[in-house]
């Protein structure tokens, strides 16, 4: 123990680290764990996000149909988010729609909904 105390005690200065808070999807339509029922010819799906970054990337995917390129970011006062208009296609029945939001540091949050196309619309 004595040996361990010899020499000049030295403490490195604290380095302030700004921890990135990942974006969080706070609200959506449909809600979390809900199903996207394609009752109308097109349905509007949207998410609202809480994050400090101004620029967020939203990647909307329908599995088997790839990235949906027509999504629109939303900015209204302090609210930010993204919306997608999904056209009713029979082929979407049983697929999953998901959106992943990334901040500039690459942190992300994701929400997904199974798609159900009513028999009447097929």
């Amino acid at each position: 123990m004595v040996a361990a105390l010899t020499g000049c005690p030295f403490v490195l200065p604290f380095i302030e680290v700004e921890e990135n808070v990942p974006p969080a999807i706070t609200q959506s339509s449909p809600g979390e764990d809900q199903t996207l029922f394609m009752e109308r010819e097109q349905e509007v799906v949207f998410v609202l996000v809480q994050d400090d970054d101004l620029e967020l990337d939203y990647v909307w995917v329908i599995d088997g149909f790839g990235v949906q390129g027509s999504a629109t970011p939303i900015q209204a006062g302090s609210q930010v988010g993204s919306q997608l208009v999904v056209e009713r296609l029979e082929a979407y029945d049983g697929r999953e729609l998901s959106v992943t939001v990334y901040d500039e540091q690459g942190a992300s949050d994701r929400r997904a909904w199974p798609i159900e196309v009513p028999e009447s619309a097929r």
Partner: protein, 510 residues
């Protein structure tokens, strides 16, 4: 008037109580609600509630005559139930003992949907084994209920109008009368039917679509309809290359109507080509990121119909489609994550195969502008969204930087640029730009000098969303005019308040 319509008209009285003040009502459509640039425009709000208010459904609210666009108190109405039971004269019984067709009113399997004109409200469902159904929709005016039986050759479909829906409404028994047969044969010029094609009737007055039946092996179809005016639609099979044909047809109380349809030429001609980038390298499709080619008929001699064919380039960038002789617009559409632009070309297809050679998809290009607010200061933080006019309406977005600079990686086709300011005092500003100088007909005025863009002042649209005197937070609010053209988008805050400034020019994209 059919028996169905009489029955429903009597029941409508039930739904007259408790109508919301702002419930969508076509009778309130006037052009006096406010002005933009001196032009009177009536505004409509489309409200999409989020999971913060899970009991509310999407609905549209028309601003009352003379209403100010500030301090709006918008009543987002809780949904009401519309129920009923579908029975028919000829039935495919879905409950009880077997029934001799035509011997009794029995429950019939049907799909039921509700649509509200000029609105985002509506819903769809199927009935149960007892023929009963229930839908939940917001209260409002001018709803249309479409009842589509599963057996279109045995029963007609029905369209029921609800003039005003103020509360829960039981439609009672909706009886699908026997109707009259509508039948005929659909043949191409070689005497063969278009394989896999379907026939359906569309109600001329409402646009409601009836059920489809597939043509039989000799091209015959049989549908049933109540008397009225319809459009007969013969649709080629999905992903096929047969045209969609439309014919007007009047159905009266007599023995039925026969309508044969000439489906045009049977001959198909191969159109082929290759998609390449600016360096001449083939653009290869991957599994979930295909390069798609959409061919849209512009003029088909001898065919009174329309046709869109979609195919994909293969792993060598090659594509091939079999089309009818005529004039075609060919659109090559890259995957969203590709780095090239879509491109379009119009070609004449004759009687022999056509190789259009290489179709070059230009690189996307860096586009930049200085964006300032109405006072000339940098519009820091403004959100920019560029949406392709045509093709698949891909969007590209970015944010205006501290110095007012905006840079976007855009395709070389006309896009509609929407700038949403981050600060108060400026309006959502919209313009059409053509980064590639393609001179495509955009249907709008293309901005010539886009090096400096000044946000307009516009007018304020602001208010609060309330439901049963409680705020409706975190709802998406779209401002549209009476024609449904989009002016702006906002989100309600925790108190249900929303605010935006809009300019006179609506979006070209609806």
């Amino acid at each position: 008037m059919s028996r169905t319509r009489i029955a429903i008209a009597a029941l409508l009285l039930v739904g007259l109580a408790g109508c919301a003040d702002y419930a969508l009502n076509k009778g309130e459509y006037t052009m006096d609600s406010g002005t933009l640039d001196g032009e009177s425009i009536a505004l409509r709000l489309d409200v999409y509630p989020s999971d913060a208010t899970p009991d509310l459904e999407p609905q549209s609210v028309l601003l009352e005559d003379g209403a100010s666009w500030q301090g709006l108190q918008v009543d987002v109405a809780p949904s009401v139930r519309v129920s009923g039971r579908v029975t028919g004269f000829v039935a495919s019984p879905i409950a009880g003992d077997p029934v001799v067709p035509g011997s009794a009113d029995v429950p019939v399997a049907a799909a039921i949907s509700m649509v509200q004109e000029f609105s985002v409200a509506g819903g769809a469902t199927e009935n149960d084994g007892a023929g009963e159904f229930q839908l939940t929709v917001p209260p409002g005016s001018d709803y249309r209920v479409e009842i589509i039986p599963d057996e279109p050759a045995l029963l007609p479909f029905a369209v029921v109008d609800i003039v005003r829906l103020g509360g829960d409404l039981d439609l009672g028994d909706v009886y699908l009368d026997y109707g009259v047969p509508v039948w005929g044969q659909v043949l191409q010029d070689d005497g063969q039917p278009p394989r896999g094609a379907t026939a359906r009737l569309v109600d001329a007055a409402s646009g409601a679509e009836g059920p489809r039946v597939e043509l039989d092996g000799e091209g015959w179809y049989l549908l049933r309809a109540t008397p009225g005016d319809y459009e007969l639609v013969i649709a080629g099979r999905e992903f096929g290359n047969d045209p969609t044909l439309r014919r007007s047809i009047a159905v009266d109380d007599d023995d039925g109507v026969r309508l044969d349809v000439d489906a045009g030429p049977a001959a198909r001609v191969v159109v082929e080509g290759r998609l390449v980038d600016e360096l001449g390298e083939p653009l290869r499709s991957a599994d979930v990121e295909p390069y798609r080619v959409r061919l849209t008929a512009q003029d088909l001699p001898g065919v009174n119909g329309s046709l869109v064919i979609e195919t994909q380039a293969n792993s060598g960038g090659l594509f091939e489609a079999q089309v009818i002789e005529g004039t075609w617009r060919i659109e090559a559409i890259p995957p969203y994550e590709g780095l090239v632009s879509p491109v379009a070309r119009t070609v004449e297809v004759g009687a022999t195969a056509l190789d259009i050679g290489d179709l070059v998809l230009p690189d996307r290009q860096l586009w930049s502008a200085l964006v300032v607010d109405p006072q000339g200061a940098a519009a820091v933080g403004a959100l920019a969204v560029a949406r392709e006019l045509g093709f698949d309406h891909y969007t590209y977005s970015g944010t205006v930087g501290q110095d007012g600079a905006l840079e976007l990686d855009l395709p070389a086709v006309p896009v509609e640029l929407t700038l949403t300011p981050a600060a108060e005092g400026a309006a959502i500003t919209r313009l059409i730009i053509d980064p590639g100088g393609t001179s495509e007909d955009t249907g709008g005025v293309v901005a010539e000098d886009t090096s400096r863009i000044e946000l307009s002042v516009g007018v304020e649209v602001a208010g609060a969303l309330v439901s049963d005197e409680e705020p409706v937070p975190f709802a998406l609010v779209e401002v549209r005019d009476a024609l449904g053209r989009l002016y702006g988008t906002a989100i309600s805050d925790e108190e249900g308040q929303f605010q935006m400034r809009v300019e006179p020019t609506p979006s070209d994209y609806q």
